[in-house]
Symmetry: C2
Subunit: 412 residues, 2 copies
């Protein structure tokens, strides 16, 4: 297709988009900005802005400590129950509290404690470095062995020594999506527990933990769920395991009767035992309206649009970006692709800088040499995608990116 | 003094109060409400409300992921450096991140790991139950022995087996303040590490961790620091210990180069290694303006007013509350008293309910039989204290509290 045809196609797709009206649900302060980093921090829902004003000025400012009984005490479970609908879980299997890292630590320690006779923790090199760091810490603390294999070798590495298999469902770099059902079943067959990190899937890629009989999961709420910077994360524990697993952090919000102020810890029945301390209410409340938007749109419609948009990015790569030195680092098969597309380029760091500073396009750079273009189906248009690729081409053809420092000098 | 004289005295004190102007810094939605639970959730500073609107609508809504570089990435250290000024710490010794419980867990595990040859964890029965639960969990996880002694027996229980002494500086129940210098020195003499919980002190009771050479501390920001519901907590690690202690939660915000995305964890130099995951920015940013108010008022002036107000509560107890069945559960000596006064009554649970629902007074009840009246010197007036005691007297003399369920039936 020629340029004109690509733009016409994009505009046609936007006109026919059944989710088009959802863009109005977000604060779009700068209509010229092309924001393709919703996989890092999702856009602000306008209803979140209104909700937070009410929370701060009325619930806190006027009701003060009474806000706990009136509004806040059940928030971790209430928002968790909504997220449960997005990941094939039951409402009593999900909580929102703490950061992804702290939740990942809690569930890893709980799983390893329950798998005392097995010494291997298994993950792959496509996992988040942040998860791998936590696993290294847990392995050291508990005297287990962490094995990091290539993504294609996970099945071969599973065995009777495997205590825990943990993977990022959608890879933060390539956007590759693991076959969750197959891997979870294979792990279960050898007696290993599986812990999925859904941070790059939830709200963009369908997940069915229940159908997979997955034991454990965590996930981030500030990416495709539009929860806001550093919003607390969710954790999932399969119902039948909740009373068999122990939270390593014996906090009062996980205590059976937190307001009895007794001196002996007894874990709450059910999912609440996986809480630790008092949750950050402002950040937690912001999560709810983003999740509501995803539920209103429906995961099927979101996934359909996401696949069309990432496919369009790949078509544009073939038409334009490949000719100016970009490689495609994401799967072509949509069944194995999340909601972002990663392109490689030897000058990716400088190009990313020029896109942000000179072209009003915000993708993100991932070391050493890739740029991620993420689509958030509720707010990204097809026309934005055409323009993003067009502006990228301009940056490369004009060479203006060369004014920015290279990675070696630019990052300390 | 007679009633009229008490009220005259209170009004005189308010007129002469050098901190009187600070009350205007808070949202006072209901001028008739007497709020004496700032030791549980502090009032909303009006500047926090404005700051959050800017954070949500501009920093998140408009700047999106660029907000991290422009505003957020340094917040844990920046707010920590301000809190450091309130507790006698250096600016590179304090961080704000995670909940008090998670921070307490991190520092307890770090201390025990560094004290491998000692099997005793020592605390007292006046400590927060929440801290005691965490200690029980850590003791089980690491095979140590938790010893809980009476507050007066701490010195006797310290010995060569003691790995960690941990106490709440100001007791959440009685308001008793431990002699920090004496206890920290005694612990150091036997080679024990001390971890102070400053939750009921910071912003109300002067603390000088540096002068005590205290090793570790944590504290809450949603009480006297006015940080908002569930606001993240701070942690303190003495400078010379930072590289010798290890955070059990190897999160990416504590990693040396979090954005290099390498696969091997290496802790950051300095205090940052005690972070875990991404901090909840909305809740964290709200902490800063509350701390600013405390710094502007100055801890000396705050403490002077706090002592006068708690003394006034004790005077009113002698004049009125003692005659209707209340006991005084807090120290008379101001050197050993925090910023709340606890009164015991066999019907305390019902009286507390009646105060909240019928009299527009919000103190708080603590099981089994006490009511805490907390003063937040920047927002509590002397006149409010007179009226709170007057309304309490009315509740008891009229017997209207008897319509509420007793503790046994009222709390499940």
């Amino acid at each position: 297709m020629r340029r004109k045809e690509l733009l016409d196609y994009a505009r046609q797709m936007d006109r026919e988009d059944p989710l088009a009206a959802f863009r109005q649900e977000f604060a779009i302060e700068d209509p010229d900005l092309i924001y393709l980093d919703g996989n890092s921090l999702g856009r602000l829902p306008t209803r979140t802005s209104a909700k937070l004003r009410e929370l701060v000025d009325v619930q806190w400012g006027d009701r003060l400590v009474r806000g706990w009984g009136e509004h806040w005490i059940g928030l971790p479970q209430r928002v968790g129950a909504k997220i449960a609908q997005l990941i094939g879980a039951s409402e009593d299997e999900v909580l929102v509290c703490d950061s992804t890292s702290v939740n990942f630590y809690k569930l890893t320690m709980a799983a390893l404690d329950a798998q005392a006779g097995r010494d291997q923790i298994l993950t792959d090199s496509a996992n988040f470095p942040s998860d791998i760091y936590l696993l290294q810490g847990c392995a050291k603390q508990l005297g287990r062995h962490l094995e990091i294999v290539e993504p294609g070798s996970v099945l071969d590495a599973l065995g009777s020594r495997t205590a825990l298999l943990t993977l990022s469902h959608t890879s933060f770099k390539s956007g590759y999506v693991h076959p969750m059902l197959k891997l979870t079943q294979a792990a279960a067959e050898v007696g290993a527990v599986t812990l999925w990190d859904l941070s790059h899937s939830v709200g963009a890629v369908p997940v069915d933990l229940g159908a997979c009989r997955a034991e454990l999961a965590v996930g981030c709420t500030y990416k495709y769920l539009h929860g806001g910077p550093g919003a607390p994360a969710f954790l999932y524990v399969r119902r039948d395991l909740q009373e068999r697993l122990s939270n390593p952090i014996w906090g009062w919000f996980g205590q059976k009767e937190p307001f009895a102020f007794g001196l002996d810890y007894a874990p709450a029945d059910g999912i609440r035992r996986f809480m630790a301390g008092t949750p950050p209410i402002l950040s937690l409340a912001a999560v709810e309206s983003g999740v509501d938007l995803i539920l209103e749109a429906g995961m099927d419609a979101i996934r359909r649009k996401s696949v069309l948009q990432t496919q369009f990015l790949i078509d544009l790569w073939e038409a334009i970006l490949e000719t100016i030195g970009f490689t495609l680092n994401s799967p072509r098969d949509p069944d194995f692709r999340g909601s972002h597309v990663s392109f490689g380029h030897s000058d990716a760091f400088q190009i990313d800088q020029a896109l942000i500073r000179d072209m009003n396009v915000v993708p993100d750079f991932r070391a050493p040499d890739s740029i991620r273009f993420g689509v958030a189906p509720l707010s990204t248009t097809f026309e934005e995608i055409v323009h993003a690729v067009g502006r990228t081409e301009e940056v490369v053809r004009t060479g203006i990116y060369r004014q920015y420092p290279t990675l070696r000098t630019g990052v300390t």
